[in-house]
Symmetry: C2
Subunit: 182 residues, 2 copies
């Protein structure tokens, strides 16, 4: 609840998200009704096999089944925060569960609202450098393959529309831009 | 409905979004229940005042009230598709309504799923070049100011966490990278 909340009506409480319809006081004093998806937040991680500042470094991409898109998407490892879990611990856990890898270094890149018109979900995007391979441990409703691509190939996949997931395009473009000295 | 949908249960139909709980057949033949936000999709547009390939070009950023974030975000103009409206027409309309500007040129940059774990929402991101100023016509529940910044300042705002909206960071990084010759 924020100070702008006049009333909140819980429509649905689910495993992943909840839906509220709130009576809201806007900045000019007018009022209205808004539909809000409440979400615990998520972390994602751009997994570089080696030094991300090296010449065209390699990274891991997942090809993952997404029911909401009626097919498969290329994505970086990601998932929602467990209760009390820090964003960096979540990123390291999702990297380990989805690729089997642990990272020598994990750096925070950015934290953004995924779609602030209707949800409070934030995603914390990290960069992993120097991966060590172990065993993956995906959850029962996750269907994914792990692919290795170069950064230049990943950028071409964004430009050609093969990467169609916002956090993945944002994380890779951020890492590439950061490397280029923004 | 996709071929993976075994049953769908509409929980809520709203002004902006709808919520379904679906019984789903996963790729391995197992089944489960998923919460899905159905959304008509949206367009967003990175509005360059002049030639975006020029030396440190200027662009417009909105500072917009977002109830879901309990405050204000810097964003590019954006909004959901009207029924039957094309993504490019929506982008041009949102640019006109939120900034008062029309563009000499509008190019498609990318189309991404905002958060495919729980919604089918896609956002179509465009670039506008060569703006002509007119009168803005914001909707009654929109509260925003229009700011002019240079591209280098916008990139610094992403890196410093002042821009915290995913479509905005993605659109600006995409446009900056494209300009840099990705």
């Amino acid at each position: 609840m924020s100070k702008a909340t006049l009333a909140t009506h819980r429509i649905f409480t689910g495993k992943v998200l909840s839906l509220d319809v709130d009576q809201v006081c806007f900045p000019d004093g007018s009022t209205g009704e808004l539909e809000i998806i409440r979400h615990p937040g998520a972390s994602a991680i751009v997994p570089f096999l080696s030094d991300p500042t090296g010449d065209d470094p390699q990274l891991l991409l997942l090809r993952q089944y997404r029911y909401a898109t009626d097919g498969y998407l290329y994505e970086i490892p990601a998932g929602k925060l467990d209760p009390g879990e820090s964003p960096s611990a979540c990123a390291a856990r999702e990297l380990r569960e989805e690729t089997g890898c642990t990272a020598a270094r994990i750096d925070h890149l950015c934290t953004t609202y995924t779609t602030p018109g209707f949800t409070d979900e934030q995603i914390h995007i990290f960069l992993a450098a120097g991966l060590t391979q172990g065993d993956a441990a995906t959850e029962t409703d996750e269907f994914l393959e792990v692919h290795t691509v170069t950064l230049s190939r990943a950028l071409a996949m964004i430009q050609q529309g093969e990467i169609r997931d916002a956090k993945t395009a944002l994380g890779i473009l951020y890492a590439a831009g950061f490397k280029a000295g923004y």
